[in-house]
């Protein structure tokens, strides 16, 4: 027990939280890459696409959680609602980052690749995307932290995760569970953040040692 919360409960809730915040992060990333690429690539499409996806971020999460079943035809208590909502927020945040990431690829490098005989798609995969990783990772970090925070609101609609400790603690006038929940949320966010940093570092070995030997 910690702060009136059983360790096993805390563990379960943390796993649930991770699942609800993390899976959408991955799906969102996969969706944002083509969207961001389009935004960076097609000049006239860029601003409306980024503004449009950004707009989705202004929809209050509580409303999205509750209204999605009407749109999707899912069960009202289904995790899918939360997952889809979080995917939407992830895409809203990440599309701009991905576009910025692609824009950050030095033009000479892109031109050199083209001049070497890469086709467009092949070049995106072999050159543009790897080079955009640092910027995309930065966006992903913000999205991860924000997801962890937003998911806890789903406690208000009975989808259990760490946020449940807030409602539970509050109802019972007990500060313990709420604080445990907050700490667990922050810890989870920090861990996710560190994981992203780690993966990004592993994926970009070239940016590690700059000093000529």
């Amino acid at each position: 027990m910690i702060g009136g919360v059983a360790w096993s409960t805390l563990g379960d809730l943390t796993l649930r939280h991770l699942y609800l915040a993390g899976l959408p992060l991955l799906i969102g990333l996969v969706l944002s890459v083509p969207l961001g690429w389009l935004a960076a690539r097609v000049r006239w499409l860029g601003p409306p696409l980024i503004a449009g996806t950004g707009l989705m971020y202004t929809i209050p999460s509580l409303a999205l959680f509750i209204l999605l079943p009407l749109v999707l035809g899912t069960q009202v208590l289904s995790d899918v609602n939360v997952l889809v909502a979080m995917v939407i927020y992830t895409v809203a945040l990440l599309t701009r980052s991905v576009a910025d990431g692609f824009a950050s690829v030095p033009a000479p490098v892109r031109q050199a690749a083209t001049a070497m005989g890469y086709g467009e798609l092949r070049r995106v995969g072999a050159v543009d995307l790897p080079l955009a990783i640092p910027v995309i990772a930065a966006g992903l970090r913000v999205a991860a932290v924000s997801n962890v925070s937003i998911v806890s609101i789903a406690a208000l609609i009975g989808v259990s995760q760490l946020g449940q400790l807030f409602t539970d603690g509050f109802n019972r006038n007990a500060m313990g569970p709420i604080l445990v929940g907050i700490v667990a949320c922050v810890a989870l966010a920090v861990a996710l953040d560190a994981l992203i940093v780690l993966v990004a570092t592993l994926l970009t070995p070239w940016s590690r040692r700059r000093v000529p030997a």
């Binding site: 202004t58 509580l62 409303a63 609101i153 807030f166 604080l179 929940g181």
Partner: protein, 233 residues
């Protein structure tokens, strides 16, 4: 689903829902009031801190990591902690409003802070060097070069903070405050989807409106020399 859209449209276009004490207009104003107070308080905390960090380059590491951690704090949890702590200690409206403000300020500080120090950072090093070189004191460099140079990023920090505030201010309704969140919370409790969807749309629209207003403000306060449009010769 089609029906929900229709009902939402009807709810939104029904003049009765716009007027009166609990109407969309009144709640929008209340929402704005709370949001602007939060933004102001957050700016008062974050802008000076960010300027200091950016100008001196000190505690940069702390600022970066702290803002990251603060971003991770869940709003709902903070709200409940604040309510539990403050409700018994405060009287009247403030007992509800202060917890909500704490949440919103905590939410708004990181983007404003990082916008501010990144802005100061982004000041052309050559311009900063030249400023010292022509004999400006530290304070003059800050006021005459770094702050004007940082304004675009400070403004975008404020804008992104405001977007988040307006979206999150809806949870103030949980503790009984007004604002557009009322439509969400009350709509949820009574399963009135038209009201909920209408409320959500109103919040998004309000966020956009305020963002546009801030964009306008940005255009006024930021020197035209700094906007990329000026680059066209």
């Amino acid at each position: 689903m089609n029906q929900t859209v229709l009902m939402t449209w009807e709810w939104l276009t029904d003049p009765a829902n716009w007027q009166g004490r609990g109407g969309i207009l009144a709640q929008s104003l209340e929402h704005l009031r709370l949001s602007f107070v939060a933004l102001l308080v957050a700016a008062l905390i974050a802008v000076p801190t960010g300027l200091w960090v950016g100008h001196t380059g000190r505690l940069r590491w702390a600022a970066v990591n702290l803002t990251g951690a603060v971003r991770a704090i869940p709003s709902l949890g903070v709200l409940f902690v604040a309510v539990l702590l403050l409700l018994p200690r405060l009287r009247g409206e403030l007992a509800f409003e202060l917890p909500a403000l704490i949440v919103l300020v905590a939410l708004a500080v990181p983007p404003i802070l990082s916008g501010t120090y990144a802005g100061v950072d982004a000041t052309d090093p050559a311009a900063r060097d030249a400023a010292r070189g022509v004999g400006m004191t530290g304070g003059q460099v800050l006021r005459q070069v770094e702050i004007p140079g940082a304004l675009p990023l400070i403004m975008s920090g404020l804008r992104s903070a405001m977007l988040q505030i307006i979206g999150t201010a809806t949870i103030a309704a949980i503790v009984g405050l007004g604002g557009l969140g009322r439509f969400l919370i009350d709509g949820q409790a009574s399963r009135q989807y038209d009201q909920m969807a209408g409320g959500a749309i109103a919040v998004a629209a309000l966020a956009l409106l305020v963002d546009q207003a801030l964009a306008l403000l940005q255009r006024v306060v930021v020197s035209p020399g700094l906007s990329s449009a000026a680059r066209v010769r």
